[in-house]
Amino acid sequence: MLDLDTTFSALSDPTRRAILGRLALGEQTVMELAQPFDISQPAISKHLRVLESAGLIARRVEGAKRPCRLIEGGVEAIDQWLAMLRRALASNYDRLDEVLADMKPPKGRKKR
């Protein structure tokens, strides 16, 4: 399990992190990306699909090639969403604490 406050599950895999590291240097094709890794092109393509659906990379069509690039701010956007979810849940559950306290007021305390 990963803590979503700082990161995201698509980043949990070391190969995917390495792919993002290489794409930080510029656009690359699947073949170029597969070169330094000891895994097949289909396996790399699978990782790229995960990164693409997570909104971290984008691919364009150039003839038979599909070069990949990083999406600017992709990681930050996920953090932003998770932060929003966390804030919404935190304030909901703080309110729920009060609702629960009111359901069974302790002795000596006035019911609100």
Binding site: S12, A77, M84, L85, L89, S91, Y93, V99, M103
Partner: protein, 154 residues
């Protein structure tokens, strides 16, 4: 002190945990009685839930409508799938922003923890398009103004 934890499980799920001082019976009731749900399931400060339909039985309907009193509103619909009183709720929900988001299956468990409850909620991680729409739904921009209004009220 934050009692809330929020983690991923694989690539597809978010797991949220939270402790409550009240026993599972009470926490379960606060999740299934519309009169109680309406008081706390609100998101950011400043929002209310004018409509709360929560039929806590298998295939029972869920409909929550939120408004911020300044013209912004959105709603959520869903259905209950499984209910184990005081222990577990499985339901499916979708947001209407106003376009409908993909179904989110949510499992909520309540376990006794001393005199209180340890709650675990497992939900589906929305895809990037849904996340973007949720971020731009207007829930967040209203927050700051709501806080200002709250301070004035106090």
């Amino acid at each position: 002190m934050s009692k809330l934890t929020l983690k991923t499980e694989g690539d597809k799920y978010i797991v949220v945990t939270r402790r409550f001082a009240a026993p599972p019976e009470a926490v379960y009731r606060a999740h299934t009685d519309p009169k109680l749900v309406q008081k706390w399931l609100l998101g950011p400060e400043g929002w209310t839930m004018p409509v709360c339909i929560c039929e806590a039985k298998p295939k029972g309907r869920i409909r929550y409508e939120w408004a911020n009193g300044k013209g912004a509103s959105f709603y959520l619909t869903g259905e209950f799938i499984e209910l184990e009183p005081c222990q577990r709720i499985v339901h499916v929900e979708r947001m209407h922003l106003p376009d409908v988001t993909p179904d989110n299956r949510v499992e909520t468990r309540f376990e006794p923890d001393g005199t209180g409850t340890f709650m675990t909620m497992r939900m589906t991680l929305p895809d990037v398009e849904t996340r973007t729409r949720m971020l731009s739904s207007g829930m967040e921009p209203g927050m700051e103004a709501s806080y200002v209004r709250l301070e004035r009220m106090i």
